[in-house]
């Protein structure tokens, strides 16, 4: 996430947590955990339990009790979401797995898909059973070649072991899982855009209402869940909702895979209870690299509002971060040390958003591009102090006025960077600095 990273700094080998209680237990093998190993580790027990001894309502109930929340970023209670599926409909229902992990700073789903794909598949089976779906789509980010390949291998294994297909394990429950590979659009991580894309259209988010649970994929009731969310489901059914819920605070149960990147000593994926504070999390990753001073942290992917170094004593669950003025998002924690230039950091962020806006709603389409052009001008040394106020105004103009939350996601960094590091921006503009060297990189703030 840090732009203009000097070429000389070697890319550290990412740390992959393999001792987490829920998600990362089978992450040890970089070659992946396959059916036999998975089954040996108690795999598919939960699915079997659900299919054989539980009604869909009980499954939903259990998941609700576990206080599992959508870990893709929105944090919507999963059980509640599942319960939105209309019971009486004659239309087919779909389960769509959002594996379009595009948020910069986030790379957790990738490890689930690569190293523990059966956990996901088991989750899919349970979820599909809970909502009565017989077809599940996995929408995988286009750039994820290896994860897609490995998931396909797992699916094939599951089919051959009758964990997918007609009459799963003789329970009479049918489920097909289809992998759909995206084409590289960040916006397709947004659930309605994902659905449109899945239908073959251009990845444009749709207006809500109607919500996907009522009219989603092919106008049928559809549940869209993140990979990580579904991967949690088998644990809940196997170990009980209480155990899962107990791992987190009152509002959210379980653990999360946190992706730590940026200026930490050991970047990587860490599974930690959601109640862990950000400071602890950074310490867990070895602290700031080279013993540098911490400057800022983005706690949940670049759309999340940035936190200053003095704001990191905050728990990483959805509600705490929201109370702190940021968001847990996709769990992508990006750490910036004192050498980071916030102006260029923001430039990099807005460039990403300008690139990735789908171009459907006017505020987002024009706003992201506009902001990007202002930021580019500022970084080129042509900025004016007025630009900062303009940026804030544009950001607030984009916020909350579009079909999906992309525009909000694009607006939040702008607002938080500028309000929290305004002095740095002003200095940058005044000095009209166009080049950045490491020696002077630490902009006075």
């Amino acid at each position: 996430m840090e732009p203009g990273k000097p070429e000389s700094t070697p890319e550290p080998e990412p740390f992959i947590c393999s001792d987490g209680p829920v998600l990362s237990t089978r992450f040890k093998d970089p070659e992946g955990t396959w059916f036999e190993d998975y089954a040996a580790d108690g795999g598919y027990l939960a699915a079997r339990k659900a299919l054989t001894s539980m009604t869909p309502e009980q499954v939903i109930d259990e998941v609700s009790k576990a206080r599992l929340r959508g870990l893709g970023g929105a944090g919507f209670p999963t059980g509640r979401k599942w319960s939105f599926i209309p019971k009486q409909t004659t239309k087919p229902k779909y389960l769509v797995v959002n594996a379009d992990e595009g948020e910069p700073g986030t790379f957790k789903d990738r490890y689930i898909l690569e190293r523990d794909p059966h956990a996901l598949l088991e989750g899919i089976v349970i979820a599909a059973y809970a909502i009565g779906s017989h077809k599940a789509y996995v929408y995988i980010r286009g750039e994820y070649f290896r994860p897609a390949k490995r998931l396909q291998r797992a699916i094939d294994e599951a089919y051959s072991r009758s964990w997918l297909g007609k009459n799963i394990q003789g329970t009479g429950f049918d489920l097909d899982v289809v992998i759909h590979r995206g084409a590289g659009a960040y916006i397709c991580g947004e659930e309605t855009a994902l659905l449109t894309s899945l239908e073959g259209g251009k990845g444009f988010p749709r207006i809500k209402p109607p919500f996907p649970a009522i009219s989603g994929l092919f106008s049928c009731p559809t549940i869209v869940n993140n990979v990580e969310t579904l991967a949690c489901v088998p644990y809940i059914l196997r170990h009980g909702a209480e155990r899962f819920a107990g791992m987190g605070p009152d509002s959210q149960g379980g653990t999360r895979l946190f992706c730590l990147s940026g200026h930490v000593a050991r970047p990587g994926v860490y599974e930690e209870p959601v109640g862990m504070t950000l400071r602890r999390l950074i310490e867990r990753a070895g602290g700031v690299r080279n013993g540098n001073q911490l400057k800022a942290v983005i706690p949940g992917g670049i759309s999340a509002k940035i936190l200053r170094a003095d704001e990191i004593d905050v728990a990483m669950d959805f509600n705490s971060l929201m109370a702190a003025g940021s968001m847990a998002g996709s769990g992508g924690v990006i750490v910036m040390d004192e050498t980071t230039c916030m102006v260029e950091a923001l430039h990099s962020a807005v460039r990403f958003f300008a690139d990735e806006s789908c171009g459907q709603c006017s505020p987002c389409r024009e706003g992201t591009g506009w902001v990007h052009r202002i930021m580019r001008r500022i970084t080129e040394g042509q900025g004016r102090l007025q630009d900062l106020d303009d940026l804030l105004a544009i950001a607030s103009g984009m916020e909350g006025k579009t079909i999906c939350v992309f525009a909000d996601a694009a607006a939040w960094p702008i607002q938080s960077y500028i309000t929290k590091f305004r002095a740095e921006f002003e200095t940058f503009i005044r000095s009209g600095r166009t080049t950045r060297s490491l020696e002077v990189a630490s902009c006075p703030s």
Binding site: R373, R377, Q382, R384
Partner: protein, 453 residues
């Protein structure tokens, strides 16, 4: 009036035959636009039938066919000697209808130019009267002074008579930066000329005899005829719109309202001579009081660039290169740029054209420009009717505008000051000698443009 009963009986005894003399419109003193049919007993006017309408150009009807700003060139041609007052009167009327206010500097600019116009008007009136009495030199001196003043007007408005300077919601351009100095010079010249004219006329018995006791009207009659302006003030009534119903910034400027005592031509001459002095006083004070001129909108960042370049860059969307810069436009648009705009025009976008920089450099300005110009879009006051008077050079110049909410006025009515006087003219002339018609008519300062409209 000036005819004693004795002289009447005297003429009656003679049983002379009345002569019907048709004076005008092709008569040197009638400006080609008025006709007086006089019944003469010798040299004395028994009856005078004043006939107007030779310059009727349907101003009021024409106004209904154009948009609100399109009326302004027509107002130039009402009282064409002091067009700026007409401009101002009309624009303030529409502004009242719209319920908008203009910036204070704009008010001052309008007042300054109005008063300069008033001086030119009085100079013309007094000079022309003198000329018609044979004092040609005085006329030319006054015209010379008027020339200096018109140069001021030209400097500000870009034209001498057909100024088309005010706009609904403001004025076309700000005063030039170096306006005070030429103004001072022009006033010095004007004062010199006034002194000379004064020397040639005021105490000259020939002139005094011609003017005194002729064209007399009482204050009561004047009021009941609806006469205003110097003509009314010559009778001793002190009505002046600028004092009695102050508009713009007249209530902040010091000036006296000169009034006469007898209501004859001499009084009118003296009142006008004094009013010129007072107008200069107003302008001099206004030039001191006027709020500071153009503020650079973006100090330091904007630099002037040719308008064409700005248009071309705007056309290809290179707004970053032109934003905040000022355009070097056609010199006739000087003083209306972005820097001056806030001080000369209301900030109401539905009324006033944007500064040229906005027209050239951003789509909002361009759209505003189009919306204000296209038929049926433009300035649209709400339904309603207003009357707004200003003190014209000849008296109360009132505009009455009715709007039906459309882009053109539903009705524009002008209350031209000399119309009321012309209605009294017949009465004033009767009993005087035919030669008195000249100074009397001259002191009416009838302007065909506003009389017939």
């Amino acid at each position: 009036m000036s005819m004693s009963p004795a002289s009447q009986s005297h003429t009656a005894d003679l049983e002379t035959r009345d002569m019907l003399l048709n004076i005008g419109p092709a008569h040197p003193a009638m400006h080609g636009i008025i006709r007086i049919v006089a019944k003469l007993d010798g040299e004395r006017i028994q009856e005078a039938d004043v006939e107007i309408g030779y310059l009727h150009r349907a101003f009021e009807k024409m106004s209904e066919t154009v948009d609100y700003n399109g009326v302004i060139p027509y107002t130039d041609r009402l009282n064409y000697v002091s067009p700026l007052i007409n401009n101002m009167g009309y624009c303030m009327t529409v502004e009242k209808l719209l319920g908008i206010t203009v910036p204070e500097r704009c008010h001052y600019v309008r007042v300054i130019l109005s008063e300069i116009s008033r001086i030119t008007d009085h100079l013309t009136c007094v000079g022309a009267s003198a000329m018609e009495l044979g004092a040609f030199t005085v006329f030319l001196y006054m015209i010379k002074a008027r020339e200096f003043l018109w140069e001021l007007v030209e400097k500000v408005t870009g034209a001498r008579m057909t100024v088309s300077y005010c706009r609904v919601g403001g004025v076309k351009a700000d005063l030039p930066e170096d306006f005070a100095e030429p103004c001072r010079k022009a006033f010095a010249e004007t004062r010199k000329v006034l002194a000379e004219s004064d020397g040639l006329l005021t105490r000259n018995r020939i002139f005094v005899d011609r003017m005194s006791g002729t064209g007399v009207i009482s204050a009561e009659d004047a009021v009941s005829y609806g006469i205003t302006g110097p003509f009314l003030r010559s009778t001793g009534a002190d009505y002046d719109v600028r004092k009695d119903c102050p508009y713009a910034v007249y209530d902040r400027l010091p000036f006296d309202v000169p009034v006469g005592t007898r209501g004859d031509n001499m009084d009118r001459y003296l009142v006008r001579m004094e009013e010129m002095e007072q107008s200069m006083r107003i302008v001099e004070r206004a030039l001191i009081d006027i709020p500071r001129g153009p503020v650079q909108v973006n100090p330091g960042t904007g630099h002037p660039m040719p308008a064409a370049e700005m248009v071309d860059l705007g056309k290809v969307g290179n707004i970053v290169a032109i934003a905040g810069d000022s355009a070097v436009t056609c010199p006739t648009l000087e003083g209306s740029g972005r820097a001056e705009h806030p001080s000369i025009a209301t900030n109401e976008k539905r009324v006033f054209l944007p500064p040229k920089e906005d027209t050239y450099g951003n789509i909002e300005g361009l759209m505003q420009q189009f919306k204000l110009v296209m038929f049926g879009h433009g300035v649209r006051p709400p339904r309603g009717e207003v009357y707004f008077p200003v003190e014209g050079a000849n008296g109360e110049l009132g505009f009455y505008v009715v709007s039906d909410g459309a882009g053109s006025p539903y009705r524009v009515r002008v209350r031209p000051p000399c119309f009321a006087i012309m209605s009294a003219l017949s009465k004033i002339l009767t009993g005087d000698m035919i030669a008195d018609m000249i100074p009397t008519f001259g002191s009416v300062n009838m302007i065909g443009g506003e009389l017939d409209r």
